[in-house]
Subunit: 205 residues, 2 copies
DNA sequence: ACCTGAACACCGTTCAAGT
DNA sequence: ACCTGAACACCGTTCAAGT
């Protein structure tokens, strides 16, 4: 048996609290310490700095999407890519305030490598695989920016709110005005899937 | 003639200084005030808060890309979209540290509306136009995250650095290992253009 | 209206000292 | 090794008072 002082928490418990705080709109070292019952300085025995916490959080969220959807050998490659991307979007849109931090962390953790390897199995042209990553992460980033922090309302509600808020001068922006209904639906699952399928079709051609 | 007290600076001068600070890696109200020769509190007569400065900066940077490239009637629509997107990428990659803030500001300013209207003229299907926006902004966001802050080195140098830094276990990640050379080139202009052309092809099909 | 000086309520990080 | 208490060097924003 080991002796001596022990951590009062697992690093995972610190990350749990960090995710709750980032969702609520303010991840600070002081708030995080208070949440887990420590002094701010004590956090630095768990993680070297705040950026390391954000990186660990990014990898953990990425790991919550179901990778088996991408690896399922019984389905066609593009269908697997679409299914996994939809699941990743579902996971990340539960934590919109964390998305910018995740984009910044640049997906370099251990889980990200596994996802990349599986994506290359489904789409062996590395350039094409990157284009898919760009579309998927770009779409999620734009939606997350729109959602802001806190609880994300149901999709239908968000689209309706966009429709109501979207009013431009028909004289100056005729096409934008005419397309307002479609523009409100940009953040819908249907638009995400349609765009991804079109992107994949272009890359396979 | 108007009388009374006058602003000692134009709001544009404040934004100039703000852009320099964000490029250098730290836009703070205090640093900004010092740069323009004011007290921090005085900035609040120019902009209501820090977020308003970032939004104004986003719209201003968007305005630096040459919209005529998108509107030029003598060229084919897709060629115009590619030319404008390349110019936008060039402008934003001069200020990589500003890109996350710009994504967050969600492109809602007056210039963004004009760009959207012109994009719809070139690509009337609003869903397709949004998919193009997603690809272009997503690609720029991922490249900017990689570049970090400060001066961005020439592209060839950045690709070489990525190639040197990129080493994964060939046993665990065979496809990633085999594609390392291509993965290093993800941030190249050629990859950006190739991906955009494939995306456009898929959307037109 | 514009600006200063000063304050309020915060930050991330470090570090001597304790166990 | 883990943690506290206290400090250091910062933040964004507000506001009475001056011009």
């Amino acid at each position: 048996m080991k002796r001596g002082p022990q951590r009062s928490l697992e690093p995972q418990a610190v990350l749990d609290a960090a995710l709750e705080l980032i969702d609520a709109g303010g991840l600070t070292m002081r708030a995080l310490a208070a949440r887990v019952g420590l002094t701010p300085g004590a956090l630095y025995t768990y993680f070297p700095d705040r950026a390391a916490i954000v990186s660990a959080l990014a990898d953990r969220l990425l790991g919550e999407a179901d990778l088996r959807l991408l690896e399922d050998r019984d389905r066609e490659a593009d269908a697997r890519i679409v299914a996994y991307s939809l699941d990743l979007r579902r996971v990340l849109m539960r934590h919109p305030a964390a998305v910018p931090a995740i984009l910044g962390a640049a997906f370099q953790g251990p889980v990200a490598l596994r996802v990349g390897e599986s994506l290359l199995a489904a789409l062996p042209d590395a350039r094409a695989a990157y284009a898919v990553m760009v579309y998927v992460l770009g779409a999620i980033a734009l939606e997350a920016a729109e959602a802001g922090e806190g609880e994300v309302p149901p999709e239908a509600e968000r689209v309706a709110a966009r429709r109501a808020a979207f009013a431009v001068d028909p004289g100056e922006f005729p096409r934008t005005h005419a397309a307002a209904g479609q523009i409100a639906a940009y953040i819908s699952t249907e638009q995400f899937r349609w765009g991804l399928e079109r992107v994949l079709a272009g890359l396979r051609a």
